[in-house]
């Protein structure tokens, strides 16, 4: 079935929002919600409701709308607000307790054992456990490092794309990625050591 919906007139909508048109503001939120919620879900800090964080991002967007000059596409500009808001929340949350083997579920422990001792790929049916494990491991990193690794290794974004999203320069992103992967490597080694003992 062909999609009969006309394309969303973002420029027109922004003009109407600037003239305090509430209907246009609502349309803008509905249009951008999928973009914002995907970012929120990827970088959601612990104990923060995704809807609350999305609302905070949209309110920031409306407050700063006068600052938008059109140098970058509007969705990119909103993405950056979303990412920096998530980072601020991640920085504000307290550090997680030490990561221990005993805290893992049976399937997570199995996957971890598998990746540490086996050079083969993880079986596809262990994908969900791997996903959970990855998030537990990432939570051990500093928020900025966490963000870079998520974007680079999970969302497979390029360094240039990450630079655009975060506003950080490419060298800084490379340094953060290197540091984060080294920390993850260290975590694996520590876990291996504790498991053996």
């Amino acid at each position: 079935m062909p999609d009969d919906d006309p394309p969303f007139d973002l420029a027109g909508c922004l003009d109407r929002v600037r003239r305090q048109d509430q209907m246009a503001a609502r349309e803008l939120v509905e249009h951008l919600y999928p973009l914002v919620i995907r970012i929120v879900r990827s970088h959601l800090p612990r104990r923060v409701a995704e809807e609350d964080l999305a609302q905070e991002i949209f309110l920031k967007m409306f407050t700063r709308l006068a600052q938008f000059q059109g140098a970058v596409p509007f969705p990119h500009w909103v993405s950056r607000i979303a990412v920096t808001t998530c980072i601020d929340h991640l920085r504000a949350q307290k550090r997680r307790p030490e990561f221990r083997w005993a805290d893992l579920s049976e399937s997570e422990a199995e996957v971890l054992d598998n990746v540490m001792t086996n050079q083969n790929d993880v079986p596809a049916n262990d994908a969900m456990a791997s996903h959970e494990l990855v998030h537990k491991l990432l939570n051990q990193l500093k928020p900025d490092d966490q963000l870079v690794v998520r974007l680079l290794d999970l969302e497979q974004k390029t360094i240039a794309e990450i630079a655009q999203i975060t506003g950080w320069n490419q060298s800084l992103i490379k340094v953060r990625a290197f540091r984060a992967r080294r920390k993850l490597q260290k975590l694996f080694q520590e876990l291996q050591k504790t498991e053996r003992s």
């Binding site: 919600y33 999928p34 919620i37 999305a54 050079q119 790929d121």
Partner: protein, 100 residues
């Protein structure tokens, strides 16, 4: 460190984690957009009205201070008929000297 080579435990784990797709709905929940739009526009109005309120208060305070200062210095500002020219001369040493 090239992740595509899957040489490290992390790279193998990340590759497996990427197989999980997020199937959750990405449409805005019912009422979300209306609430956020109303809050956003109300926020802007609040900022404007806050400015207006402070501006009016400042104007009121300035007017009151002007009235008070005029009232406090009224006696100096108004011409006093009781003050005779002679009295003024008496106080003026130069005038006394010239009169003599």
């Amino acid at each position: 460190m090239n992740l595509n080579e899957r040489t490290t435990p992390w790279s193998r784990l990340a590759a497996a984690a990427r197989l999980v797709t997020d199937d959750r709905d990405t449409a805005a929940p019912y009422g979300f957009a209306t609430r956020v739009a109303a809050l956003a526009l109300a926020q802007e109005r609040k900022v404007v009205s806050l400015f207006e309120r402070f501006a009016f208060r400042a104007l009121g305070a300035a007017f009151l201070m002007a009235v008070l200062s005029v009232a406090a210095n009224y006696s100096v500002l108004s011409p006093s008929p009781a003050l005779a020219e002679d009295e003024l001369i008496e106080d003026d040493a130069v005038a006394v000297l010239l009169d003599a």
